[in-house]
Structure formats: C-alpha cells, structure tokens
Symmetry: C2
Subunit: 269 residues, 2 copies
C-alpha cells in the first residue's frame, strides 16, 4: 500500500519497463521513518544515497528537487515510511549504461506496519552474502540474497535473521545492522566485503562516541556472539532493538541499547 | 527501442513501481535471437527460465501462455532480440515475499543491433564477481556487477571484457561464456560460484560431445588462457565468436569455433 508516490516529480505509480532499475537492479534506495511529520535522519539518508550514486556512476538527483518531492509526499502525514529509489534511468545498450546523465527518481510514502515490541528472537539464515567490496556498504537494488533470506522463515518462528557471508563472517540482519557488547565495548561488523552501512548504525557509532563507549568495527564471527553480554539490531525505521535469543543462546541485558536509544531520542519519535 | 511488448499479456510498456523486480531485482530474464521468424533455442531458454523460477521460489509462468505471448510479439518479424523478464510480482512486506503465487511477465521484441564481424579483442574487467553458489548459473536480475563491468571501457577500446570472481578465478565475459582450447580439448569455467549457465554454452557442450571433442567444465584461472591455442565467447544472440586478442595475448586459430558453429548451423540464422 502506498499513501503517495512521485516518479520524477509526477504523481504516478508506474515506471517504464526499460528502466535499468527493473532490467538489472541498476540503482539505489533509502528507507526512512517519518515521525511527527519529520523524516528522521534525512540528511544521513540523502548523503548515503549521493555516495551510492557516486559509487555506481549514476547521476545523483538534485538535492533540492529531492527534498521538495519528499516534502510533497509527506505533507499532512505524521507517521509513515519514506522510500526513495534512484535508478540509472532508461537507455544504454544491454548492460552498458548510455552516456546520458539521466536517472529515475521514485519518492513514496507508505504506512508504517505494526512493529512488535519487546526483545527480538533471531535465527541464522542459511543463504550467505556474496563478497564484493565494490558493492559493499551502499544500499543498491541487487537484493535477491535478502529476499531469499527472509523467505526462509514465517512470521511466527522468529523476528529477524542474521546473515553470514560466504566465508562465514557475520555481516548483518536481513534488514538491519548488528551490534554486540563485550566487556563493556561495542563491536559491529566492518562491512568491508558486503552489507549496508546503515543510517541507524552510523548514528549509533556517533552516539557511542559521545557517551564514551568504546566501539570497534571489525570482522565478527558467529562464535563471537557467545561471548557477548548484549546484542542489538539497528534499522533506520525500527530504531534499536534488543535481542533476547538466537537459537539456543539467550540474552537478558538491554542496558547499552537503552542508553543509546535515549541518547538518540529514539523514543521521542 | 522496442518493437512490441506485452506485460502480463497486455500491450504496455509500464510496470507498477512496487514490482519486486524494480524494488529488489527479484526476478529473472532471458535474451534470445529471433532469426528467420523463429526464436533460436527457445526450448532451452524456457527451461532455464523455469529452473531459475524454481531456484528463487517464484511461480513459473504457464509455458503455453508464455509461448503464446512470444508468438504475438514476434509475429511478422524476421529478425530481432526477444527479451523475457519474469519477476515475483508486487506484494510482500519489505524483502519478504508475499504468500501469493503471483508473478510479472514481460515479453518484448527489440531490434537486433549491428554486431561487428571478425574476431574479438578482449580486455580484463577490474570489477570482480561475488561468489554465491545459491545464485550461480541462473539468469537473475541482480546484474550490477555486469553493468559496472561494461562501464569500464568504451566501444572503440575493446569488443568484450572477461570477468574474474573475487578469488581471481575466470568466470565469463560480461555478456557471454568463455571457452578455451588446449591440446585439442575444450575447457570452460564450471560456474559453481557465479556466472550464468548460458544457453549457447550448453549447446556448445552438446555439440562438442557429438563431434567427439573432449570437454571439461572446471575451474579456470587467467594463466590458463596463455596455454590455450584458441579462445571463443558464446552468447545466445551473437553465437560463437572467436577471440583475436586479450591485452597482449594474441590468437589466430578459429578452427574449433568454426566447427562448432557449423555443427550448430549458426550461420543459417
């Protein structure tokens, strides 16, 4: 369901079938929370989108135009999920992009689905993430691995799944980044080979620094979670979510997650 | 440019922006040659498409419907490129597919671009292919790596690029499979981690068996090409193309490629 959608500035819900986003996943997206009529961390989302465009060689949309379109689709709404998609547009011959500096912008507001409260029950996903440093960090449209990951279980069985890369390193949740607390310090995967540099992840890293919490971004392996006193998942829309269980492992501590959420005023939104 | 397009059986060139093909690259495609009014190797293309649907858990389109739509878009045309896209359709919540067995079918005929004649000059692509056995072989819509590969050079510099995976194994050309001839035997990468099981590749493997040419599918590394007496690239639309040069390496033999092309009657189309 969509509350409002603009495609290249026009009210529409259709894109040309020759759009390279549809043909090859040749584009990027952002998903942000609208709360109290404001898009949370909008500057961060727009910055990551611009970084992604630069990495893929896609003409970045004009920021003022994009902000204006975001204001149009969110006008009069207090709460929802803002989704932005930018693709390389139509054209080119086969895989090869055309020389024209074109793109397609989709700016849409969706209702915020009910989100369960309480600490999350996690599972391990069977599908792995392929490693490719060239695509790591950005929120591109090639998301089959995440789609297949979320296909592995039904709602009742777990709240989220953790994903490993093909070498067995821990990367992320299917729709979020993962943090572990060990000896009072925060650790999160460094995402050098795959995964998305989440907007909430970046906010958590900055808030931790302000709070004087030691933080490291480093390679993490499944066994590292056994030594963790606390685990949480971050997502731009859902905020910071404590983890209660991962298969047979259990955690009851939520203090670091709560301090970070308070520092980021997440409950105010 | 498109000569004819059917979307779910209706003449159209627009798809809903919430289609999962556009949102996540959640789908598959086929590109086939129309020659003398017939789609070359159509059975093979439809079989690979069905295999891909099965691998991704997408409801495969009814084969009779698809064949009927192909007949409609190719009617009255002698020559062109047939492109079929099948996605998981709209719906689901975020990455997670909905439970409905829906899909989106796009069946389109495009003009056949002019293809240069003569042996190909190849280059090495800088971007690598990520390894993920779960997605290997099928022709899914997550093709950013190929798009970025073809962005690395302009038309005049080379005819095609060879791609390695992140571990340095040779996988494919940006739009085709690669074969080497060594001591009279054919060798082609086994594609166990990435790459597409090309329709022309499969035809070449079968034709080689009929001709009594030894064939192995095995891991290949860049150095293996130095020992090759002949190299060729296969692609469903362009057929079998001999390679003349790869950076400073040069080949003049084209005999095996020509025998295979003759066995497959490729020049008749």
């Amino acid at each position: 369901m969509t509350l409002a959608m603009l495609i290249n500035g026009q009210a529409s819900n259709q894109i040309p079938a020759d759009d390279r986003g549809f043909q090859y996943g040749d584009g990027l997206f952002e998903t942000a929370l609208l709360a109290k009529g404001q898009v949370r961390f909008l500057d961060d989302h727009l910055r990551r989108l611009a970084t992604g465009c630069s990495r893929l060689g896609i003409a970045a949309p004009d920021e003022r135009t994009l902000r204006d379109e975001i204001a149009q689709v969110t006008k009069g709404s207090e709460r929802g999920v803002l989704k932005i998609i930018v693709t390389r547009g139509s054209g080119g011959r086969g895989y090869r992009p055309g020389s024209a500096a074109s793109n397609t912008r989709v700016v849409a507001l969706h209702p915020l689905n009910h989100v369960s409260q309480g600490a999350l029950r996690l599972r391990w996903c069977e599908i792995r993430l392929g490693r490719n440093a060239r695509l790591a960090g950005i929120k591109h449209l090639n998301r089959l691995e995440h789609v297949l990951a979320q296909s592995e279980w039904s709602d009742g069985e777990a709240d989220e799944g953790l994903m490993l890369d093909t070498e067995g390193e821990l990367v992320c949740a299917t729709a979020g980044n993962v943090f572990a607390v060990r000896d009072g310090a925060l650790i999160t995967p460094d995402l050098r080979f795959c995964g998305v540099q989440g907007v909430m992840r970046a906010q958590v890293l900055k808030a931790a620094a302000r709070l004087g919490l030691p933080v490291t971004e480093e390679p993490l392996w499944p066994d590292d979670l056994q030594a963790a006193s606390e685990i949480f998942i971050t997502n731009a829309v859902r905020g910071i979510r404590s983890v209660a269980a991962l298969d047979s492992l259990q955690w009851s501590e939520t203090g670091v997650a709560e301090r970070l959420a308070a520092a980021l005023s997440l409950s105010d939104t």
